[in-house]
């Protein structure tokens, strides 16, 4: 399992101004019928894109973008990891938004996609900037928790525990979890239901 340090992401951004974008919209369920994540990026917002001729994801001005600015409660609903996988495989390396749903945020962390949270006003400014001047190069600085363009520096919040893991390159938790397997056994032995209450545990 390879893992890498994530300190800084520089590039263009796709603006997604709507709030409450759920994972059914990011990757409709019929695209979950696969035994790999390969090609899942083709499903990214595909139903919306079909019904919206000028969808930001298809706008040639945003071609090559590696970040996305989103509204409130992004990634709500279904726990499908297909949603962050589609974003990542499409080329999105970081998202900045007003707020993110819990499971979605956990999934993004698990696959090494940082999420930055900013105030609604600041996010609106970022979205407007990306809409009006799509060639703008934004700079997301994980260590200093900022996103900047030109002279403008906007503070973002990155959950401390996750930020530390991105900077240290330890966001792939599996190695960590596996190194504690002996302690796992010990905790299991003290939980009476693990033996279906056959023993007088504890």
């Amino acid at each position: 399992m390879s893992t890498k340090r994530i300190e800084k992401i520089v590039g263009k951004a796709i603006p997604m101004p709507r709030d409450d974008i759920d994972t059914d919209r990011i990757t409709p369920a019929r695209f979950l019928k696969s035994i790999t994540f390969e090609g899942i990026e083709k499903a990214l917002f595909c139903d919306e894109r079909e019904n919206t001729p000028d969808h930001p994801v298809d706008n040639p001005a945003h071609k090559g973008a590696n970040m996305m600015f989103v509204g409130k409660n992004f990634g709500s609903g279904s726990s499908r990891e297909h949603a962050p996988q589609a974003l990542k495989r499409f080329g999105i390396e970081v998202l900045v938004g007003v707020s993110f749903a819990e499971i979605f945020a956990g999934n993004c962390f698990a696959i090494g996609v940082p999420l930055g949270v900013a105030s609604a006003d600041d996010v609106n400014e970022l979205i407007r900037q990306a809409q009006e001047e799509p060639e703008t190069r934004f700079n997301v600085d994980i260590r200093n928790s900022t996103v900047s363009f030109g002279d403008r520096v906007i503070p973002i919040e990155i959950q401390e525990t996750r930020k530390a893991a991105f900077l240290a390159g330890t966001w792939d938790m599996l190695t960590n979890l596996r190194s504690n397997l002996p302690q796992v056994e010990e905790v299991a032995q003290h939980l009476p239901y693990v033996t279906n209450f056959e023993n007088d545990a504890q």
């Binding site: 399992m1 790999t36 530390a164 596996r178 239901y193």
Partner: protein
């Protein structure tokens, strides 16, 4: 910070280590797996050459992609067949227990967990499905995870997690006639909002929950995630114990007595402290139905649809989008809105009590000729029980379709889907755009009673008025 709640006790007793990241490594007591969110996770195990750490704490079944009409193999849908075959191969290779179609115990993971006594109080329960919060009804901590995390549980039986805050939701008094647990959960989401639960576990309590059946508690806990709360639970009590006793995986004899002691002990103490408390008077809850594009867009069935400017700044855009997409207008009544499809099923409302309630209301009536109605039991055991009680005949005589167990029309991953701009009234949990399989399909959520009364009327109808006619 919360203290001495069930959440705190279970969290502490399941903590393996504090990780460098600052997260806690938490032991998972029960891991439920299904065909959709596991193939890549098993792939990960193969890649690193690991096995399943605690195969005896894992149980698999198939629910999302399974057709509810003809289940003859190979499935017509090649992709569904491929996923099924991958799951069969993986559970064999890794030695994981699997409730297959021929077991008589297959069903939606969140129906079979409690039904078989697999889900018990004081456990941590994870599954690659957001509605794992359902198992909180048993007095456990159930929560949904993504596929990478499924891999973590398979390989280590643990997860790296951040501790949540605990919000107590107290529903006092009693529910009025025709008002059901589904209405309680829609009202909670309506009041606290779809992001109100971000960062929280919900503890449900109060007179209404004390008096509620286990199935009803499952309906409420199921939709916690729709309010943003990854976990929702009810403290275990005599109702829980009575439900558990005698189930296949429940302890027996002396072990049962030890189980009882553990379960009583794990409940929130009288001195428990919460990060927040929210109270609703049971009497103030009406049958609820959604009008928009998320589960927070709901209204008491007799109330006019809310004005757009009743939403605060940020939510106004979503509300406007909701009205536009659903072709409805503020100020109108939701009653009388024509529906094409009525769906009674899903992990929210497909248990025997839901089917009994539906059958009782539909008995002697007919599904409106303009409506296609699907009744889909949540498990093979629920189906069998319903058939022993003759419920299937009541539904089919009324003109509804009686199907095999599965997720069905909740999510558009199997042949049961809306077509074009069809409008449905559904007992499922999500009215998101495209959720029921058609990008233009329109979904209204409601209780089994609302779905049945609407199926008969051909339009959204108040079950309380139907009762008066009968």
């Amino acid at each position: 910070m919360s203290k001495n709640t069930l959440y705190d006790k279970v969290w502490d007793s399941h903590t393996v280590a504090r990780l460098d990241s600052g997260q806690d490594q938490i032991f998972i007591g029960l891991h439920l797996i299904h065909e959709v969110t596991t193939p890549q996770a098993f792939g990960m195990l193969k890649e690193i050459g690991a096995g399943v750490a605690f195969p005896g704490r894992t149980m698999g079944t198939v629910d999302h992609i399974i057709p509810t009409l003809s289940q003859i193999r190979p499935y017509e849908d090649e992709q569904a067949e491929k996923m099924m075959a991958a799951l069969e191969q993986n559970v064999n290779e890794f030695g994981v227990r699997f409730l297959h179609l021929d077991s008589g115990k297959q069903g939606i993971v969140h129906v079979i967990g409690p039904e078989l006594g697999l889900s018990q109080p004081g456990m941590t329960i994870a599954c690659g499905d957001s509605h794992t919060s359902t198992h909180g009804a048993m007095g456990s901590l159930g929560f949904g995870i993504g596929t990478t995390e499924v891999g973590h549980v398979l390989a280590t039986q643990t997860l790296a997690l951040n501790r949540l805050k605990v919000k107590r939701i107290e529903v006092t008094g009693a529910l009025g006639p025709g008002v059901t647990p589904k209405d309680v959960t829609l009202r909670v989401i309506h009041d606290l909002g779809i992001k109100g639960g971000l960062g929280f576990a919900y503890e449900y309590g109060g007179d209404v929950f004390d008096a509620m059946s286990m199935e009803g508690r499952m309906t409420v806990c199921n939709m916690s995630i729709e309010g943003g709360a990854r976990i929702g639970y009810v403290n275990p009590d005599q109702t829980t114990f009575d439900y558990l006793e005698g189930r296949e995986f429940s302890p027996e004899g002396e072990a049962w007595e030890r189980g009882l002691a553990y379960w009583r002990d794990i409940a929130s103490g009288d001195d428990a402290e919460y990060d927040d408390v929210y109270e609703i008077a049971g009497e103030s809850i009406e049958p609820m139905v959604t009008w928009g594009i998320n589960p927070g867009h709901s209204v008491g069935i007799s109330q006019p649809l809310p004005e757009v400017n009743s939403f605060s700044g940020e939510d106004r855009n979503t509300a406007e989008h909701g009205y536009e997409f659903m072709a409805l207008n503020p100020g109108e009544s939701i009653l009388g809105t024509k529906v094409d499809v009525a769906f009674l099923g899903s992990c929210t409302n497909s248990r025997i009590s839901d089917l009994r309630e539906g059958a009782q209301l539909i008995n002697g009536n007919k599904v409106h000729p303009g409506v296609r109605m699907l009744v889909v039991p949540g498990s093979q055991q629920v189906k069998q029980q319903a058939e022993e009680e003759g419920l299937h005949e009541i539904f089919t005589e009324a003109g509804a379709e009686w199907r095999e167990a599965g997720c069905s029309m909740c999510l558009g991953m199997n042949p049961d889907k809306l077509v074009g701009a069809e409008r449905s009234i559904s007992t499922s949990n999500r009215n998101f755009i495209g959720r029921q399989g058609s990008p233009r399909g329109r979904t209204h959520l409601g209780s089994p009673a609302v779905v049945v009364s609407s199926a008969i009327a051909g339009c959204i109808a108040d079950p309380r008025e139907m009762g008066e006619q009968a």
